[in-house]
Symmetry: C2
Subunit: 185 residues, 2 copies
């Protein structure tokens, strides 16, 4: 189960600001930063135009950096419903960009990301930024917050991926056992 | 302000069933049906795969029928949040398909559609289906409900479009007046 070299694209989704990052898994728990940035769309533009810009930017990033997998924040009921709906529109086009390129998508809640990266599911922004800066060996803390969140999502997936791979291997082994045992009946 | 011949694509969005329709505006309030159908995606498929299928189906419909405009149901807080989020993902990829083809998108609430089509914002499914069947001169009522809703959205836009066009002309005239008057100062 060697995941060394796996490239992960982290996405902190939003219509006004969408954080994007790419990292690469190194040896053991080492993670190497590749790229980080924020796509912005003007709030006075048409919704269709904003979705088109996000779709194109995410598509360009995927074509440039060729990630093996995408890690994106899982949406849940917080803030106003209209904000959640707008963010969900953006998530739809971002997931579509991944699907069109055959890239699998994993979802993580903010507390899963905090727990994975800092060991504390309730870590604050400052603690998270400090951890991400140290883990990735960055010269200075990533800015703005959306960029730091996108990096944290990608690091979270790098560290969760071995567990996911092991669980799915166990799942596959279980299925095989069932098949063999039913063949004996 | 002649909108005769305008083709409208109506969309009743959903991840499991997405109603699609195309109608064409005729003389006065006449509306001619062109196509109606439902795109289904299996609930046990990956979310990315489902969004990809919806995106491709909507894209194929748009390329086949070349609508001038899209009318889609406006989402609002009803049902469970997770259903709204899933539907909003679908709406995101549907709006993107329109944006990629330069097709403007208009949103209508269910009560706006009911009011426009039947004169009653609280009309029930049966009344709406009966009105749509009569307006479009269909041999039998459209099925399933998602298909009928998609037709109702398209008819709603056909009848609202002249008002929208008039309002935007008045808006433009207002701007011109302001410009002229400020040029005189």
């Amino acid at each position: 189960m060697n995941l060394e070299g796996m490239r992960v694209m982290g996405v902190d989704p939003g219509l006004t600001r969408c954080g994007l990052s790419v990292v690469q898994a190194g040896r053991g728990r080492a993670v190497v930063p590749v790229a980080v940035g924020v796509v912005r769309t003007p709030s006075d533009a048409e919704l269709t135009e904003r979705l088109l810009r996000i779709s194109r930017s995410v598509g360009e990033w995927m074509d440039d950096y060729r990630p093996d997998v995408m890690a994106i924040e899982r949406l849940f009921e917080r803030g106003t419903v209209s904000t959640v709906i707008h963010t969900a529109h953006a998530v739809g086009v971002i997931m579509l960009a991944a699907a069109e390129r055959g890239v699998p998508v994993y979802h993580y809640t903010p507390s899963e990301v905090k727990k994975a990266v800092s060991g504390n599911g309730r870590a604050d922004k400052k603690q998270m930024t400090s951890m991400i800066t140290r883990i990735l060996g960055l010269a200075e803390p990533p800015k703005p917050a959306d960029a730091a969140d996108a990096l944290a999502l990608a690091v979270c997936h790098c560290w969760r991926a071995p567990l996911i791979a092991r669980a799915s291997q166990l799942g596959a082994a279980g299925h095989t056992t069932n098949f063999v045992s039913s063949a004996h009946h």
